[in-house]
Symmetry: C2
Subunit: 379 residues, 2 copies
C-alpha cells in the first residue's frame, strides 16, 4: 500500500446537523434530523479556499474514495486510481472531499440508523430521500468546511446525477461540473431493473417489511438485486472477454442446477460479497431516489432546469455503457448548450460498459486532469 501517489492512511469523518427542533425538510415533505453525513478529505484547502473538489459516489459507493483505513487493508478506496499525488485529482493541488449520502448504510443516517424518537432502527419509517435531498445535505457539509465555491463537483452514475443536481440547486457554488456515465432523468429500462431488484429484496421472507435488524438478514433477496445490477454494469463484449462460455471448476456440463459457467460463479460471488457490506433497506431507498431523478420534473424540460446554471461542464460517457448510453449524455449536453452553458461532451471508446468510470483509464484521467487545470487557471 506504499505505492507512489497514494494518500496513505485516511479516516472517515462525520458531520451531524439538523438536530431537533431544526430538522431538515425533505423533498417528500417529511422532516429528518439529526442527520449525520460521513465524508473523507484528501489534500489541503488552500488559503484562497478555491481548490476544493467534491466527489460524489454511485449506488453502492461510500465516503472512502482513496487511501486505506488500516495498514493491512487489502483494497484502497473506490476511486483511488484517480485521487492522490500526481493523479488526475492531484492532492498536491486540490482539496478533495468525498461525501456519502443520506439513506445509505456507510456511516450516514439511513434506514439502519437508530431513530432517536423510538430508540430502534428506522427501517421503512425512514423518510424517502431524493437526489436533491442528498445535494442539500452535502451543501451543509461544504458550508461547514468553510467553502463558498467548489472548484468542481464530479461523479459517475448516480454520482453524476448528484453533479447535475448540484449545478442546478447551487449554481453559484459550482465552477466546474463533471458528470460521468449518467443522465438527467432515469430511463424506464433502468427503473425496471431497479424495480425487479427491489421486488427480490421485498420477496425475501427475512425482509419482514424492512424490520429485520438484529434478526436474520434478507441476504438472498439483496444478493439477487445486486446480481441484476451487476449485469447492467458490464457490457456484452466485456462478458465475452472476461468469461465467454468458460466452465467453472469442471470440464463438462454438470446437467444439474449447480453452477456450470464462470459467469454464474462470478455473479454469485458478487452478490454474496455485497450483502456483507450493504443494507437491503438502503438498496431500496437509493434505487428509489434514482428512479425519482428527473430534472425535467420541476421545469417541464431540461433546458428550463439548466436555465440558471453557471458551471462549466465536462460530460463523459462510455461507448459500451448500455445502462446510461451516450445518447443520454448528449441529451444533457444539448439542453445545457441551449441554456448557454459551456459544455465539453465526450464519449470514451471502451468495452468495459457502465463500470468503466471505476476502472483505470489514461483517457479518463487526462480528460479530467486537463479540465481541472484549465478551470483552476480561469478564475
Amino acid at each position: 500500500m506504499a505505492e507512489e501517489g497514494s494518500v496513505g492512511i485516511v479516516e472517515t469523518k462525520y458531520l451531524t446537523f439538523a438536530a431537533p427542533p431544526n430538522e431538515m425538510t425533505l423533498e417528500c415533505g417529511r422532516t429528518l434530523g439529526p442527520i449525520t453525513l460521513a465524508y473523507e478529505t484528501y489534500g489541503e484547502l488552500n488559503d484562497a479556499r478555491d481548490n476544493a473538489i467534491l466527489v460524489v459516489h454511485a449506488l453502492s459507493g461510500d465516503a472512502h474514495a482513496a487511501g486505506y483505513h488500516h495498514p493491512r487493508d487489502k483494497h484502497p478506496g473506490w476511486w483511488d486510481i484517480m485521487i492522490g499525488a500526481g493523479r488526475a485529482l492531484d492532492t498536491r493541488k486540490y482539496f478533495i472531499i468525498c461525501s456519502n449520502i443520506v439513506g445509505g448504510c456507510q456511516g450516514s443516517t439511513g434506514p439502519s440508523s437508530i431513530d432517536p424518537r423510538t430508540g430502534r432502527p428506522y427501517g421503512l419509517s425512514f423518510p424517502m430521500v431524493t437526489i436533491r435531498d442528498w445535494v442539500d445535505t452535502q451543501k451543509v457539509l461544504i458550508d461547514h468546511l468553510g467553502i463558498t465555491r467548489l472548484l468542481c463537483v464530479m461523479g459517475g452514475s448516480t454520482g453524476g446525477m448528484q453533479v447535475l443536481q448540484w449545478a442546478v440547486s447551487y449554481p453559484d457554488m459550482v465552477r466546474l461540473a463533471i458528470p460521468i456515465a449518467t443522465t438527467s432523468r432515469l430511463s424506464p429500462q433502468a427503473i425496471a431493473f431497479n424495480e425487479v431488484g427491489r421486488m427480490a429484496i421485498q420477496s425475501d421472507p427475512n425482509w419482514r417489511d424492512g424490520d429485520y435488524y438484529g434478526k436474520t438478514l434478507p441476504r438472498r433477496g439483496l444478493a439477487i438485486a445486486r446480481m441484476i445490477g451487476h449485469i447492467t454494469y458490464l457490457s456484452d463484449r466485456s462478458m465475452h472477454q472476461k468469461f465467454g462460455r468458460k466452465l467453472q471448476d469442471k470440464s463438462a456440463y454438470g446437467y444439474n442446477f449447480r453452477t456450470d459457467f464462470q459467469v454464474e460463479s462470478y455473479l454469485r460471488y458478487k452478490g454474496d460479497h455485497f450483502v456483507n457490506r450493504f443494507d437491503a433497506n438502503s438498496y431500496l431507498y437509493i434505487t428509489k431516489a434514482m428512479d425519482y431523478f428527473d430534472l425535467t420534473q420541476a421545469n417541464g424540460n431540461l433546458e428550463g432546469a439548466f436555465a440558471g446554471v453557471k458551471a462549466k461542464f465536462l460530460i463523459i460517457s462510455f461507448s459500451s455503457d448500455w445502462l446510461f448510453p451516450t445518447y443520454m449524455s448528449k441529451e444533457t449536453a444539448s439542453a445545457l448548450r441551449r441554456a448557454h452553458a459551456y459544455v465539453i461532451s465526450t464519449e470514451i471508446q471502451t468495452d468495459y460498459g457502465h463500470d468503466a468510470f471505476l476502472l483505470e483509464s489514461d483517457q479518463l484521467s487526462s480528460l479530467i486532469s486537463n479540465f481541472l487545470s484549465q478551470g483552476m487557471k480561469q478564475k
Copy 2:
C-alpha cells in the same frame, strides 16, 4: 375471432412414445420415457408430402401457434399473425406443425408430469433436457406424421436454436431453415440473466427444492424471473415509447415503495400473469437448456458443426434486439457460408427489440413468405 384468414378452432394433439423399456437416452446420459409431445397442425399435408413446415417456439411458448381453442377465447395462438390462409405461412399451401418441448409445462412431459415409477410429479428428479433432445423428440413426431423431409423449420429466440439444431442433427430432413433472433451459442450475458432468474425461483421458500406440486406455488420467484426476462425482450427505445417516465394512476411521486411508474406496473402485471400459466421448474429446465446450447461444443467450431448441413438458410435479426444482437446472426451466417451453405442473412430495422419476432411486421412476413415460395418451387 372470425377474422379473415384465421385457421379457426383448433385442437392440441398429443403423441406418446419411448414407453419403457424403450426409453429415449438423452444428451445428459439419462433416459426418459414415456414421453408425450403436445403439437398442433394447420392446413393439409399434400400428396407429395413435401409441404410440411415445422414451427418451434421460444421459452414460454407452446404448441398453440394459431387459431383458437374455444369460440370464446380472447387471444389466438402465439404466432397467429403469421399462420393462416393468405398469411406468410399460408395454410392453403403449407401443412404447418407446431411442436411443444420436453421439459415444458404445456402438455408435453416435463417436471410437473407424473413420474410413472413413483406416481408423483418428477420435480427435480426430471432429467436435464437439451435443445438436441428437443429436436430428437420432434424428429419422432415428424416421423410419426409420415414426413421424411420438411419443407422448412422455423422459429425465433430459443425456437431459432432448435432450427439450427434441426439442420445440424437431421440435415437430410430440412430443406429450408429460418432461424430468427437467435444464436449458435448462448452469450454469457444471457446465461447471467437466466441464472439470476433461476436464483429468484430457487430463493422462493415455496419452491422447496422443486417439490411444491399440490402446495403453495413459488409465485414470487417465478414472477421475478419473468420480469427480468421481459426487460431483456424489450428495447430501451421501445420502453421510452411505450412507458417513458409516465406515472401509474397518480399525478405525483408517491414517495413510498408502492408502484410509481407505468413500467413497474406493466412488469408486475407480466410477472403475475405468467405464473398462472407456467411452471417454475419448467422455467429452470428450459433456461438451462438454453444455457447449454453451443453448436461449437461438439465440433470445436461453428464451421465444423455446420459441415454437413444441406438446408438453405434465411437468417433474420432485429436491429434493436440486445439479447440476441445482429452480430450473433452474422456469426452464424459466416460459419454457414464457410461450410458452403446457401444463406440469406438480413437485419430488420425495428425499435421492438427481441420480441419483434412475435409482432406484426410486413417485412418479416414477406421475407418468410417469399423464401418459402421460392424454396417450394426449387425441388
